[in-house]
């Protein structure tokens, strides 16, 4: 993986000093909260209901075991012993004290990490395919380009105060695993007929209140020009994106308003002045960055391991795990392993300090010391020898890391929800837990097969509900009760689509029954191995809607107090935005 040189170190250390001084000025009262806010947000520091949350950047989801151990250290030393992996491949800590943040950033810098631009109206962490470099369907390894874009976007002086946040994702495989259609800029690294590397560029995708699938602005920008092309897109957006209404400020609204042809014309007019200039990438630089992403020292191994088959026959749990959470690798004798952060009963995406240390240890022993955070809030060991799978599974199982549910119903994406977030209308995590408990039966889940269930506590869509096969959104009602809208038919990947709302919203305790009815309609109508999303596409919304609303809904037993969150205690006054 990429390693810092003196320049990367210098920039990150100077950032620690700068932010530490900003915190000092805030604590001394020199900076008012309204002035500190955009500064802390550029550094991923949010003020949530109960405390400060820090989001740490995991560039394109890739980390070393040493960095994972640092997360465990932060969880223990400064937080409540756990962290939360996010849908943008980052990690966040929910219970920090403002005065500790400078020390945390210094700790992070010592392992080549930071929290730069993990929030705020700037270019955010670049996300990518969690299987980059190892997937069988990969055309071009995205990691070097993601790193080059990371460096280009870090402290870009012109684009730090954009109309709104700006998210870039890159995919380089036949199947899009980076949700590039749901990003402000989606990049697909491809090869043209001559075998030259370039980018198909999508623009104006995004979720939030106005979900829009990105549209193509260019079918091929050769690799040398990608930085200048992205720069021109951002310059047009920075000047003309709306700033009068934050809900209409994303680039998707500008692209819609101008139309893609006019938007493209403006971008390329600007680009005419940059193209072939000093911002053009060089072969030397790409070659240098690529040198950090060469294959690890793979052994020559047979592709099949007879012991695995024997053990699979003996252990149902193991064979279920092999079926779902172990994926084919392009190197014979190796496999990709998805460690599930979705154990039923646990918070989706959460890992304890102990689990982080175990994962770091497993990475060191079985996967060349590297891990990847996925946008579905799981952790991947990308280079595991098949002959190690049994021992890896046994060790990981002891730490609740082998729920065999990757891509299944309980592999739920969930935002933090109203227990933590000031924006949310409703709780997400307790709902995710309740749904997972209801459908815990793994045989049932395997029977249902591939499905995605995404939960957001409000229409800002951090839980990406629009692209869930089943999407759940907390909606605001006058009575301050929690209500949820349910949509179906959303999906990510090559055939991205946005879900459609099935009808009037439901109470917290009705949602599991609603899901159950949706699944019943699917089971009755599916043809052979058809996936849930395919059935929805084939038969449409109506049969689902009719059945869900046909009879009165039963309510699960109320779980109101079961997951109550205990507020943090602060020495320094903490003015909660909500209370």
């Amino acid at each position: 993986m990429y390693r810092y040189d003196q320049y990367d170190y210098r920039i990150v250390r100077e950032r620690v000093a700068q932010f530490s001084d900003q915190v000092r000025r805030r604590l001394s009262g020199e900076l008012k909260e309204e002035e500190f806010m955009p500064l802390r947000l550029q550094n991923g520091l949010y003020m949530q209901i109960h405390g400060y949350m820090l989001r740490i950047a995991v560039p394109y989801g890739l980390i070393s075991s040493e960095q994972m151990r640092m997360f465990a250290h932060i969880a223990r030393q400064y937080d409540r012993g756990y962290g939360h992996f996010t849908t943008r491949q980052n990690i966040q800590f929910n219970w920090l004290k403002l005065q500790d943040v400078p020390s945390i950033l210094a700790d992070l810098a010592s392992v080549e990490m930071h929290a730069i631009q993990t929030s705020g109206n700037c270019v955010r962490n670049i996300t990518s395919d969690e299987f980059a470099g190892v997937a069988q369907d990969e055309v071009v390894d995205t990691r070097p380009y993601a790193e080059i874009l990371r460096q280009w976007s870090t402290f870009h002086p012109e684009f730090a105060y954009l109309p709104r946040k700006f998210k870039i994702a890159i995919s380089g495989a036949k199947e899009d695993r980076a949700a590039i259609y749901a990003h402000d800029i989606g990049l697909s690294v491809i090869k043209n007929a001559q075998g030259e590397i370039g980018f198909r560029v999508l623009v104006g995708g995004g979720l939030g209140r106005t979900p829009i699938i990105g549209v193509e602005i260019s079918d091929f920008i050769s690799w040398q020009h990608i930085l200048t092309y992205v720069e021109s897109i951002l310059r047009v957006y920075n000047q003309y994106g709306r700033r009068d209404n934050k809900y209409k400020a994303r680039i998707k609204i500008l692209v819609k308003a101008l139309g893609i042809d006019e938007f493209k014309r403006q971008v390329e007019e600007d680009w005419e002045h940059l193209k072939d200039g000093s911002g053009t990438l060089t072969t030397e630089e790409v070659d240098r960055v690529c040198s950090f992403f060469i294959d690890p020292a793979y052994e020559r191994l047979p592709n099949d391991d007879s012991k695995l088959n024997e053990f699979k026959a003996d252990s149902r749990s193991f064979s279920n795990w092999m079926l779902r959470n172990v994926l084919p690798h392009r190197q014979p004798g190796y496999a990709i392993v998805v460690l599930s952060m979705k154990k039923v009963g646990n918070v989706p995406g959460d890992a304890t300090a102990e689990q982080m240390e175990v994962m770091a240890e497993l990475a060191d022993r079985y996967s060349f010391g590297e891990l990847r955070i996925t946008h579905k809030q799981n952790v991947v060991l990308a280079d595991v020898r098949k002959k190690d799978l049994i021992s890896l599974w046994q060790e990981a199982t002891a730490h609740e890391l082998t729920e065999p549910n990757f891509g299944l119903l309980t592999d739920i994406i969930s935002c933090p929800g109203a227990e933590f977030c000031t924006l949310a209308n409703a709780r997400s995590i307790p709902l995710a837990k309740m749904i997972a408990e209801r459908f815990e039966n793994i045989d049932f889940q395997h029977d249902i097969g591939d499905i995605s269930l995404n939960i957001s506590g409000c229409m800002n869509a951090c839980g990406q509900h629009h692209i869930g096969n089943i999407g759940i959104t907390g909606v605001e009602k006058k009575d301050h009760e929690e209500w949820y809208q349910v949509s179906i038919g959303g999906s990510e990947g090559n055939e991205s689509s946005l879900g459609k709302i099935i009808g009037p919203s439901f109470s917290f305790n009705q949602v599991p029954e609603v899901i159950d009815r949706l699944l019943q309609v699917y089971l009755r109508n599916r043809i052979e191995t058809e996936r849930f999303i395919d059935t929805v596409r084939r038969i449409g919304l109506a049969p689902f809607k009719d059945y869900v609303y046909a009879a009165e809904l039963t309510e699960e037993e109320a779980v109101d107090d079961k997951h109550a969150v205990v507020p943090a205690q602060y020495d320094i006054p903490y003015y909660s935005p909500r209370f």
């Binding site: 003196q6 920039i11 012109e158 730090a160 950090f292």
Partner: protein, 176 residues
């Protein structure tokens, strides 16, 4: 009044003319002396203003640098306004003035100008800053030296880091 110019605190006697609600760019009277007029006043009273020995102009964040095409050498100072520190359009205006229009004179940041933006402002071509009057200018100037290195090209540094220095390759990889 004190401003930051070329990384030092200096006395400055330019006056920025901001139009009142009752005033119009066509008819507003421009006092004698060193005045920085709004872009609209320049566009409306161009002929009269050209007779002055020294003139400055300022752009609002929703105005475009291109409106000064072919005129930039007529000003001793061009200022760009930041109505709110979170309004980032003026960074692109500065970039366009320097790069697209080739302006080489004094480029001044005015309005909601605070210490923590100065580094970015300097990178996109500002060389003069009027920090918000309720802040100590001695503190604000520190913002110019927050970083000693950066990755990307802009106005102050025409080459990205990868074209300026020899950077490290992965020591374990063999050069091919």
């Amino acid at each position: 009044m004190k401003i930051i110019k070329n990384k030092t605190i200096v006395e400055d006697n330019w006056i920025i003319l901001r139009l009142g609600e009752q005033q119009s760019p066509e008819s507003v009277l421009i006092p004698d002396g060193k005045i920085i007029v709004p872009l609209q006043v320049w566009l409306q009273q161009r002929e009269a203003l050209l007779k002055r020995s020294e003139l400055g102009v300022w752009l609002a964040s929703d105005e475009r640098a291109e409106l000064l095409k072919d005129d930039v050498d007529k000003f001793s100072v061009i200022a760009v306004d930041f109505p709110k520190f979170s309004d980032g359009r003026s960074y692109s205006i500065a970039y366009n003035l320097r790069v697209r229009l080739g302006y080489t004179g004094e480029l001044r940041a005015i309005g909601d100008v605070l210490r923590d933006q100065l580094f970015y402002m300097q990178r996109v071509g500002f060389d003069a800053f009027e920090p918000r009057p309720d802040r100590k200018i001695e503190d604000a100037i520190k913002g110019l030296s927050d970083f000693s290195e950066f990755y990307q090209k802009s106005v102050d540094q025409k080459l990205p880091l990868f074209r300026r220095v020899q950077r490290s390759r992965n020591p374990t990889s063999v050069r091919n």
